[in-house]
C-alpha cells in the first residue's frame, strides 16, 4: 500500500477508502498468480541466456569438430588397436565368441556381463553425410563412426571379462539402437547406442592354442 504524501491524516484515510477495493483485487491476483508468473519469467530468461550462449558457442564448436574430427578418429583407432593387442597378448586368444561352450565340464564359474557405448556423429559429419545422401551410395562418415564404436564396445567387453577374471565370454550378442533428444530437429543430440553382452566363464583349463 502506497503511503500518502498528504500532510493530513484525513486525506490519508479518504485515499485508503477509495483505493482499497482495487488493491484487494490486485493483492489477490499477485497472491494467486505471483509465484507462477515469476517462475515463467525466470524460465524464459534462462532460455534466452541459453539461446544466446548457444548461438555464440555453436560456430566455434562446429569448427572445432570439423577440424579435429579426423585426427581424433585416428587417435581413437590407434589406441583401440593398442588395447586390442594388449588383451590379445594377455589372453592368447580372442576371449569373445558367440558359441556355446564346447566342453561345459571345464567351467567353474559363469555370469552375465554387459557394456555399452553411445556415439554421435558431429554436426560437421552430419552435414557431409547429408550431402552424400543426395547421391546415395555408402556413407563413409557414419560407417567409420559405427564400426569404431562396435570395435570399442567389443574391446570394453574383453577388458571387463579379463578384469573380472573370466577366461572367455560365450554367447555374445550385440544390440544397436538410436537415441536422440530432439528427433527431426536440427538442434539436439543424435546418438547411436551400441550394446554388447555375453556370459563370462571361468575355465579350469584356459583356452590356449
Amino acid at each position: 500500500m502506497q503511503p500518502s504524501y498528504s500532510a493530513t491524516g484525513l486525506q490519508w484515510s479518504r485515499n485508503e477508502q477509495e483505493e482499497s477495493p482495487l488493491e484487494t483485487i490486485e493483492l489477490l491476483f499477485y497472491a494467486v498468480c505471483g509465484l507462477p508468473l515469476l517462475l515463467i519469467l525466470l524460465w524464459s530468461v534462462l532460455w534466452a541466456v541459453y539461446g544466446i550462449l548457444f548461438s555464440i558457442a555453436y560456430p566455434f564448436l562446429f569448427l572445432y569438430g570439423a577440424l579435429t574430427g579426423s585426427s581424433k578418429k585416428k587417435e581413437w583407432q590407434d589406441s583401440l588397436l593398442l588395447r586390442e593387442r594388449q588383451t590379445l597378448s594377455r589372453t592368447g586368444k580372442d576371449v569373445l565368441s558367440m558359441d556355446k561352450l564346447r566342453r561345459p565340464q571345464n567351467v567353474s564359474e559363469s555370469g552375465v556381463i554387459w557394456t555399452s557405448i553411445v556415439v554421435g556423429p558431429s554436426h560437421w559429419q552430419q552435414l557431409v553425410a547429408s550431402i552424400y545422401m543426395l547421391f546415395g551410395g555408402s556413407i563413409d562418415v557414419y560407417h567409420d563412426l559405427i564400426a569404431l564404436g562396435r570395435s570399442e564396445v567389443f574391446q570394453r567387453l574383453r577388458e571387463m571379462a579379463t578384469d573380472k577374471g573370466y577366461d572367455a565370454v560365450i554367447g555374445v550378442r550385440l544390440d544397436t539402437s538410436m537415441i536422440g533428444t530432439h528427433r527431426g530437429k536440427k538442434q539436439g543430440s543424435k546418438g547411436i547406442e551400441i550394446f554388447a553382452y555375453g556370459t563370462g566363464v571361468k575355465l579350469d583349463k584356459p583356452l590356449r592354442g
Partner: protein, 111 residues
C-alpha cells in the same frame, strides 16, 4: 561357486554350465524408461556438435539396464527360480529424450 546376482544365476546362454536344469518357470522380464535431466541433455548436445562418444548417455543407459536387470531378477525370485537362462536385452526410444530398456530371459530351477 558361481557368480550370482541376489541369489539368481543369470547367463545369456541356453544352459548354465555345470548345472542341470530341473524345471522351467516361464519368461521373466524387467524394464525401465529413463531420461536424463535438462542440464545433461544440454552438455551432451554441446558434445554432440564436436562428435565422438557421449559419456553421460552411456552412463545413463548402463544405470538403467542395471535397474531393468534387477527388476527381472526380482521377478525370477518371486517365481521361486534360482537361475535365468537365455538373457536378452532390447532397447527402444519411446519418445525423444527417453529410452526404454528391456531385458528378459527364462527363469529356471537348477539342482
Amino acid at each position: 561357486m558361481s557368480a550370482t546376482v541376489d541369489g539368481i544365476h543369470v547367463v545369456s546362454t541356453e544352459t548354465i554350465p555345470g548345472f542341470i536344469i530341473k524345471d522351467q518357470l516361464g519368461v521373466v522380464s524387467g524394464s525401465t524408461v529413463r531420461a536424463k535431466n535438462v542440464w545433461r541433455d544440454f552438455t551432451q548436445m554441446m558434445k554432440n556438435i564436436v562428435g565422438g562418444e557421449l559419456p553421460q548417455y552411456t552412463e545413463l543407459l548402463v544405470e538403467s539396464r542395471n535397474e531393468a536387470f534387477m527388476r527381472m531378477v526380482a521377478d525370477a525370485k518371486a517365481r521361486g527360480a534360482n537361475g535365468v537362462v537365455n538373457l536378452r536385452f532390447a532397447t527402444s526410444a519411446v519418445s525423444p529424450g527417453a529410452a526404454e530398456l528391456f531385458c528378459y530371459g527364462t527363469a529356471v530351477v537348477t539342482e
